[in-house]
Structures are given as structure tokens and as C-alpha cells.
């Protein structure tokens, strides 16, 4: 398969857990600069697909290319280093680290200080640490959490934890940002604000965004293109209007609800 087109290319990706095929022969590409939505009924394999792309779950078969590089079988930290950041459906902050520390952990790969030089507090390391702290503080400001930088993450209310998680993912300086149900648990006001926020962040950090979302109006309004999964299979791919009028999609959603 050609590895020149698309920031992220997913080729015939399959993942089986015992007899259950969670992701079944899925292929699509996410182009640089777009906001790409991944939707589907519960249990359709969306989060499994995220786990495959980020290296948490090895695929049963198929290939993954990121930035033209074959990342099939790469370990999560290697893929993250290439520039892939992610948030979770169930927020996964480090609860006992402060907000600032949570963000700074994600800068680990962008600093060079080693174990020994860190303990000795050599000038280069102290400068590096200070710069990292300033950068992290800047990201916290962007998500309006700067005044609580020293508070442990577990003490933040839900909505703030979501924003902190995004700030942390951005500290990786990713090219591709994966958001797993960013609107989950938000009220309608917050949901409306979220779309604006995602667009702003995307422009500011020149990101490509791949997001899973259940809230249909959010997805339709926000995404350039959408892929629909059902029972692990890709059943539709296209712009919001195309996907919305696709009979297979309508059936999958109505069939799920009846």
C-alpha cells in the first residue's frame, strides 16, 4: 500500500479478541489538517481502533502508517514520540500529580536531561526544566487552569479534568490529536463551546484531529470527514452530508435504538 498520502493511513486493520472481531478489515486515511470523525453505535470498535492506532493493542493483521512511516507493531511510547497525542473516554489523568506536573510529564520526550544530571541539577537541566515549566504554564492558561497549576488533578471538577487532559495531550506537541468522546458528560452549553475550542486548538497548533463522538450535532458541525463503524466494519466514509444520508448508516443507528 502506498505510504505517501495521508498523515495516518489505516490498511485492512483487523483485531480479534477470541471469537469477537472488534475491528474487521478497516481501511481509511486521515489527511493532514482535517478534523476527522469516527462514529458508530456502542461496541462498534471505535475505542479499539484508537488503541490499535496508538499502539496499545497490537493488530491481528493489517498495517498502520503515520507520517509515511510504518508503525505497525511499534510500542505506544514510540508512536507518541512521532507526534500522536490522545485523550480518553474515561479521563485518565495522574490523579495525585498536580495539574502542572500532569502537563510536564508529556514534555518528557522533548527534553534531554538524564537521571544523573537531573539529580545533580546541572545548569542545562535547570534551564530545560524552567522552560518546560513555563511552556506547561502557558498550556494551562490556554485551558483556563493556570490559577490552579499546583492543585492535584483529582481535585478538579469533571469539565476541568477534560480540559487538563487536552492540555496534557498538546504538551506532546502532536501532529495528530486523538480525542475519545471529548463531549461526554458535558452539558449543551459546554458542548457548543467544545467545537469552537477544538477548532481554535487545531488552528493554533496546526493539528490534525481524529475524534470519536456520540453527539451527532457536534460531529456533523465539526468534522470535515466522517467514518462510520458498525460491528467492527467500516460501513460509510465521506463528508457529513454524505454520511448522514447513507442508508447503511441510518439502519445501523435506527437498528441500534429499536
Amino acid at each position: 500500500m502506498s505510504d505517501t498520502n495521508g498523515l495516518l493511513r489505516i490498511g485492512s486493520l483487523t483485531r480479534a479478541f477470541g471469537g469477537l472481531v472488534a475491528v474487521n478489515n478497516v481501511s481509511f486515511a486521515v489527511n493532514e489538517g482535517e478534523i476527522f470523525g469516527l462514529i458508530g453505535p456502542n461496541g462498534a470498535g471505535k475505542t479499539t481502533l484508537f488503541n490499535l492506532v496508538t499502539g496499545l493493542t497490537p493488530p491481528t493483521s493489517g498495517e498502520l502508517y503515520f507520517k509515511g512511516r510504518n508503525i505497525t507493531g511499534s510500542r505506544p511510547h514510540q508512536i507518541a514520540k512521532l507526534g500522536m497525542g490522545r485523550t480518553f473516554q474515561n479521563i485518565r489523568l495522574f490523579p495525585n500529580l498536580t495539574a502542572l506536573e500532569n502537563v510536564m510529564v508529556a514534555q518528557h520526550i522533548h527534553t534531554r536531561s538524564g537521571v544523573l544530571s537531573g539529580v545533580l541539577g546541572l545548569p542545562r537541566d535547570r534551564r530545560e526544566e524552567r522552560e518546560a515549566r513555563e511552556k506547561a504554564q502557558g498550556l494551562l492558561e490556554m485551558v483556563n487552569l493556570a490559577d490552579r497549576a499546583q492543585v492535584q488533578a483529582r481535585n478538579f471538577p469533571y469539565g476541568d479534568q477534560r480540559r487538563l487532559e487536552i492540555a496534557r495531550a498538546l504538551a506532546l506537541q502532536p501532529k495528530l490529536l486523538l480525542l475519545d468522546e471529548p463531549a461526554a458528560g458535558m452539558n449543551p452549553n459546554e458542548k457548543a463551546g467544545l467545537s469552537t475550542f477544538i477548532r481554535e486548538v487545531k488552528e493554533k497548533f496546526s493539528l490534525t484531529v481524529l475524534l470519536i463522538e456520540h453527539h451527532v450535532p457536534t460531529v456533523m458541525g465539526l468534522c470535515d470527514r466522517i467514518a462510520v463503524l458498525n460491528f467492527g466494519q467500516l460501513i460509510a466514509l465521506g463528508n457529513p452530508a454524505e454520511v448522514q444520508s447513507n442508508p447503511a448508516v441510518i439502519e445501523a443507528y435506527l437498528g441500534d435504538e429499536s
Binding site: T54, L56, R75, P76, H77, A80, K81, G85, R86, F88, R92, L93, F94, P95, N96, L97, E101, M104, V105, A106, H108, I109, T111, S113, G114, V115, G118, V119, D125, E128, E129, A132, R168, L172
Partner: protein, 313 residues
């Protein structure tokens, strides 16, 4: 009299504390108790002894042998501890990592580490015998008096130089380790991995590398602790670390699993209480650590400084 007992308790408590740190470091990252830590502790004492160019092996395979060179005590301590640390990394690579890769039950890992401990102790015995080895007197501070009286002639508080060295080294280790974990980049990554290894890896952190580092630190600290005990009471044979292994367990559970301040408080507490046991009851001393543990756990199941365990739904 009381001051004397407190001083003795402080010295042995410091060893308990840094011994228990070795458990704590690995527990906080992997959630397992590494029973081989007691054996690494013993190895550390033997490594330092051997590196000083002293004759080792009276009965074992290596009887009447010694290295062709001898290092000064402090250099030998450092090199011995580094070797102990590397040995810990080696065990991680051949035992713990394969088990982790297979998603083995923590109980399996625990039993494997127990087996390792027994194997290492037996290998030591096979190689160098079971005799007591003693560092030469004044090995650490040549020319220093064997003990110092901090009290008066009427009410002496005599602390042996070896005990002073133990306390000083333990304090130094604690300060450096606390600084490393709380104030450096790698320490922060270590804390992140201990909270959530999966998320850490998605943020670009090589968790296997940090686990290796943890085993090194644990082994290093264990090796230092072993040498210090050897300096104080001699290397009393390959089983030196076993009693510490059990008591260390009481220390970390008492202090709170995974808590570094907990390991220190638990270690000092058990050391001091043991030292206060009257001479007539000294044969019950070892039971005391576990009696304290039992009572504390009735009141505070999470240990003195541990966080309450919240069952995830």
C-alpha cells in the same frame, strides 16, 4: 538509659527504612513485592566485602580466594551497590519482564521472587560458605574511635561509629531519593508511571526503561543497606537478608504500601520500639514488629501514611 535505647533504635530503624525503600520503589511502580530484595541486600554486603580485597570463602567452592586488588571501604561500598543494582536489573530482565509481558498474576510474580530469593541465598552458600564475615574494624573511618559518648560519664549515651555512619548514610540516601523523585524530570515520570503506566506510555514515556531504573535504584539502596548492616554486626551468613526481608514487609505495610515517607516512619518506629524491649524479653523482639503491625492495621488498614484504597467499580 532511654536515650541510649533511642539511639540504638534509630540506627537499626534507619536500616529498616532504607531496606523497605527498596520494596517501596518497586511496589509503587509494579504493584508487586519483590522478595528477592532481601537476597540482593545480602549480595550487596558480600560484594563490598569482596571488593575490599578480603579473603572470602572458608568452605565453599571459592575457599581461600580473594581478589588481586582491594578497594577502600567507601569505593567498595559504591561499586558493590552499583553491582547489586545491576543485578536487580538483570533479575528484572530475566524474570519480572517476561512475567509482565505475559500478563501474569501478581501472585505468580510474588512466588517467583520468593523462589529467586531462596536460589540466590543457596548459591551464595555454595560459593562462599555460611560463615560470618566481618569487615576489618575501622574499615569505614580509619583512626576514628569505635564509639562516641554523647552523654555524660554518669549517664553515658554511647553510639558506635558504625551506627553513626548508618544513620548518616541513611539520611543522605533519603534526601537524594526524595529530591530525585519529587524534583527531577525522571522522578516525575516515575511517579506518572506508578499512577498509570499505560497513560504514561501514550505520553511518550518508555515504561520498561523506567522499570529498569527502578530495579537499579532498589538494588543499589538494598546493597548499601546490606553493607551497612555488615559493618555494624558482620555478615552473618547468606541468610542475613531473610529476617530483614520479613521485617521490611512489616515496615512497608505499617507505613503504607508505596509511600516513601511511610517506609521511613515505619522503619524508624519498628527500630525504636524493638530497641525499647527490655533485655529479659529480648527473645520476643522479632514478634513485636508484627504485633505493632497488627494493631495499627486494625485502626488504619491503609497503614500510617498510606492512602485509603478505593475500590474501582
Amino acid at each position: 538509659m532511654l536515650a541510649q535505647q533511642l539511639a540504638n533504635g534509630l540506627a537499626i530503624g534507619s536500616v529498616y527504612a532504607i531496606f523497605a525503600l527498596g520494596y517501596t520503589l518497586i511496589f509503587s511502580i509494579l504493584g508487586i513485592i519483590n522478595f528477592a530484595h532481601g537476597a540482593i541486600f545480602t549480595l550487596g554486603a558480600y560484594f563490598t566485602y569482596t571488593l575490599m580485597g578480603l579473603q572470602f570463602g572458608f568452605n565453599g567452592l571459592l575457599a581461600q580466594q580473594k581478589l588481586p586488588f582491594g578497594l577502600p571501604f567507601w569505593v567498595a561500598l559504591l561499586v558493590g551497590a552499583v553491582i547489586a543494582g545491576l543485578f536487580g536489573v538483570f533479575l528484572e530482565r530475566i524474570i519480572f519482564r517476561p512475567l509482565r509481558a505475559r500478563g501474569a498474576d501478581p501472585l505468580l510474580t510474588l512466588v517467583a521472587s520468593l523462589g529467586l530469593a531462596v536460589a540466590i541465598v543457596n548459591i551464595i552458600q555454595y560459593l562462599v560458605g555460611a560463615e560470618t564475615y566481618s569487615y576489618p574494624s575501622g574499615a569505614a573511618l580509619p583512626g576514628a574511635p569505635a564509639s562516641v559518648n554523647f552523654g555524660t560519664t554518669e549517664a553515658p549515651v554511647i553510639i558506635r561509629t558504625a551506627q553513626l555512619i548508618i544513620i548518616a548514610v541513611a539520611v543522605l540516601i533519603l534526601i537524594v531519593l526524595t529530591f530525585f523523585i519529587n524534583r527531577t524530570k525522571t522522578g516525575r515520570a516515575l511517579r506518572a508511571v506508578s499512577e498509570d503506566a499505560t497513560t504514561s506510555s501514550l505520553l511518550g514515556i518508555n515504561t520498561n526503561q523506567l522499570i529498569r531504573l527502578t530495579f537499579f535504584l532498589s538494588g543499589f539502596v538494598g546493597g548499601v543497606a546490606g553493607t551497612l548492616v555488615g559493618l555494624n554486626v558482620g555478615i552473618t551468613g547468606p541468610y542475613l537478608g531473610i529476617s530483614f526481608g520479613l521485617k521490611g514487609l512489616a515496615v512497608i505495610v505499617l507505613g503504607g504500601l508505596g509511600s516513601i515517607p511511610g517506609a521511613v516512619v515505619g522503619g524508624l518506629l519498628i527500630g525504636i520500639v524493638e530497641a525499647l524491649v527490655p533485655a529479659s524479653l529480648v527473645s520476643y523482639r522479632d514478634a513485636l514488629a508484627f504485633a505493632i503491625l497488627f494493631i495499627v492495621l486494625l485502626v488504619r488498614p491503609q497503614g500510617l501514611l498510606g492512602r485509603p484504597l478505593i475500590q474501582k467499580v
